[in-house]
Amino acid sequence: MRVVIAVVLREGLTRLLADRGHEVSAAVGDAEALLAQVRAHRPDAVIADIRMPPSHTDEGLRAAETIRREFPSVGVLVFSQYIETRYTSRLLESGAGGVGYLLKDRVGNVGEFVAALERVAAGGTALDPEVVSMLLRRPDPGLASLTGREREVLGLMAEGRSNAGIAAALVLSEGAVEKHIASIFGKLALESSAGDNRRVLAVLRYLGASA
């Protein structure tokens, strides 16, 4: 996988990704250079800090929105010291797949971090557990009827994990996870229909409440 990164932790991250067999095509320090490199390299994924020079506000997020619009095939993983729900919804408004929003701390768990990046590059989502838990605090009539286990499953779904991933995380069988998911779809009144990914719909409807 080829990655363009625009983060403060450039050197370390380059080494980390190289260790895991990924190629960092370019490592830059600001949003303008990031866009130029994405245009030049057409990478599989981008990792960008939200705050970048010159104004240190939300340049990275704006660059991410631009990349999502111009290069829908490039996965964008946004990286920040903070989780802001407003940023989450802005990111998700730019398209449901191929985006991620993680706290910088998550690089500490190399395996999960690289897995999240790979998921984003493959068109999936990777939301920080903080985002999910923040959203889970929101009362929602559909959500209120979910059991604790179902909330956990939905949370992991929102993070972007597969059934197998959820099963591993909760130490359940995949069959049990599937049952929980079916129950969630029922409670959130998501009818099965061809072409619609109910999994994404469930998460989106749920995250959309904050947008």
């Binding site: 980390l16 010291q81 910088k104 701390d105 690089v107 768990n109 923040m134």
Partner: protein, 435 residues
């Protein structure tokens, strides 16, 4: 004896100093400008006040008053210029006028222009001062004329004997004192009178200039209140900027370093095969996570980063984490200054926390708008049980106090049984209102 001699010689020599002539120059210009300014202001302000008191003329009257205030500020500038140019006395100009927003806002700001009204006061109080200044100049002028009489007599009164000429009249600035002179030795009396008149004029000029300086400094300089308002605004904005800097330094410094350490520890965890080392690294990683979470919480308390993209975004993020459904409606046409945004944010955060803790509400509504000119209005309402009382408990009272440090206001409506609505109004930016 020596002391008296020095004083007398000082008094007598005064007319021969540069300072005296500069003061006389100032008195001449100041008297003309002062009398003209007095009538200009009086003849526009008086009818304007009269007109604005009537029902139909209110608008016209108010507009004329605004014109008078603008004119008075200009006149004040002219007087400051005269003081500086003629006698080298500097009066600091008051802060420039801050225009309001919208027609009413602009009118309101103008009518409350404290420095403008002070300039009007100067223009009106200047009349007696200007008259005395003019009189001092006249006294010196007349005195000089009197002193020239012996010369005049010798030059123009050299007539054959028996020619009858009217007497020369020695004038003094006191209208009743005039002396008719019809002999050459008599002109010496005129010289004495003239010298006295010049001396009196010079010293009168000095005294009135000192009085005028005081008046100008009190009314044409920055007022104590606007000065305090201005410096307080600077202090508040500085404090907000300092907090932002601290947050930014944390963000770009300690937080980045810790994240880098976390990354290295992560890579080490990944590579080690030794279970004991792994355990230690796991503990290190957990500690780093906690440290980063602590830093995040501290930084958020100092300056929530999402505020950088605007108050509406920040409040939406805040509302999104509320366990009671909270909606944000924002209509902010003009972005408040950073300090006001920060204060507004923490006000809403606290009101929201109060509502969550005490109201047992089902819904919370957060409204922010700038419908009133120059005012940022924040309202947090809930449909809970009410009974919030600013006089009991420190939360609301402390909030009111904090709001008042920027000339904001807070009103609470919370009857027992609800609903509760707390409205906070903040100036959109910190400036002296009168400035």
């Amino acid at each position: 004896m020596d002391g008296i001699r020095r004083v007398v010689s000082g008094v007598v020599r005064a007319p021969f100093t540069r300072r005296a002539w500069r003061e006389l120059l100032y008195c001449t210009a100041g008297a003309i400008a002062g009398v003209a300014g007095f009538f200009l202001v009086l003849f526009t302000l008086a009818p304007a006040l009269f007109i604005s008191a009537s029902v139909l003329g209110t608008v016209v009257g108010l507009l004329i008053i605004v014109a008078v205030l603008i004119m008075a500020r200009r006149l004040g500038a002219l007087h400051r210029l005269l003081l500086r140019r003629c006698i080298g006395y500097r009066v600091t100009a008051p802060a420039p006028f801050q225009r309001g927003e919208g027609v009413l806002g602009r009118l309101d700001r103008r009518l409350r222009d404290r420095d403008g009204w002070r300039a009007v006061g100067y223009a009106e109080l200047k009349l007696p001062v200007a008259i005395i200044q003019g009189w001092a100049v006249v006294a010196v002028g007349m005195g000089l004329a009197d002193i020239s009489y012996p010369l005049v007599w010798l030059l123009f009164r050299h007539r054959p004997a028996g020619t009858r000429l009217g007497p020369l009249i020695a004038v003094t600035p006191v209208p009743d004192i005039q002396v008719a002179i019809d002999t050459l030795p008599g002109t010496l009396l005129a010289v004495v009178l003239g010298a006295a008149s010049v001396l009196a004029g010079v010293w009168l000029a000095r005294a009135i200039v000192i009085a005028d300086r005081r008046l100008a400094r009190a009314l044409l300089g920055p007022s104590r209140v606007s000065e305090l308002e201005r410096t307080r605004a600077i202090a508040v904005e500085d404090a907000a900027a300092a907090l932002r800097r601290v947050e930014r330094d944390l963000h770009d410094g300690a937080q980045v370093r810790l994240a880098a350490v976390a990354m290295n520890v992560g890579m080490a965890q990944d590579k080690t095969g030794d279970a004991a080392v792994r355990e230690l690294l796991d503990a290190a990683q957990a500690g780093l996570s906690e440290a980063l979470a602590d830093l995040r919480r501290i930084a958020r308390g100092i300056h929530p980063p999402v505020l950088d993209t605007g108050l509406a975004d920040a409040l939406e993020s805040l509302a999104a984490s509320s366990p009671i459904p909270a909606t944000v409606r924002a209509d902010v046409a003009r972005r408040p200054s950073p300090a006001i945004e920060t204060i507004g944010y923490f006000c809403v955060a606290e009101l929201l926390a109060n509502a969550i803790k005490h109201s047992s509400a089902n819904r919370i509504e957060i409204n922010i708008d700038t419908y009133k000119p120059d005012v940022l209005r924040l309202r947090v309402g809930d449909d809970g049980r009410g009974g919030a009382d600013p006089s009991r408990g420190t939360g609301l009272a402390g909030l009111a106090q904090r709001v008042s440090t920027v000339d904001g206001s807070m009103s609470v409506s919370s009857p027992a049984g609800g609903p509760t609505s707390v409205t906070v109004e903040l100036p959109i930016r910190m400036t002296g209102r009168g400035a």
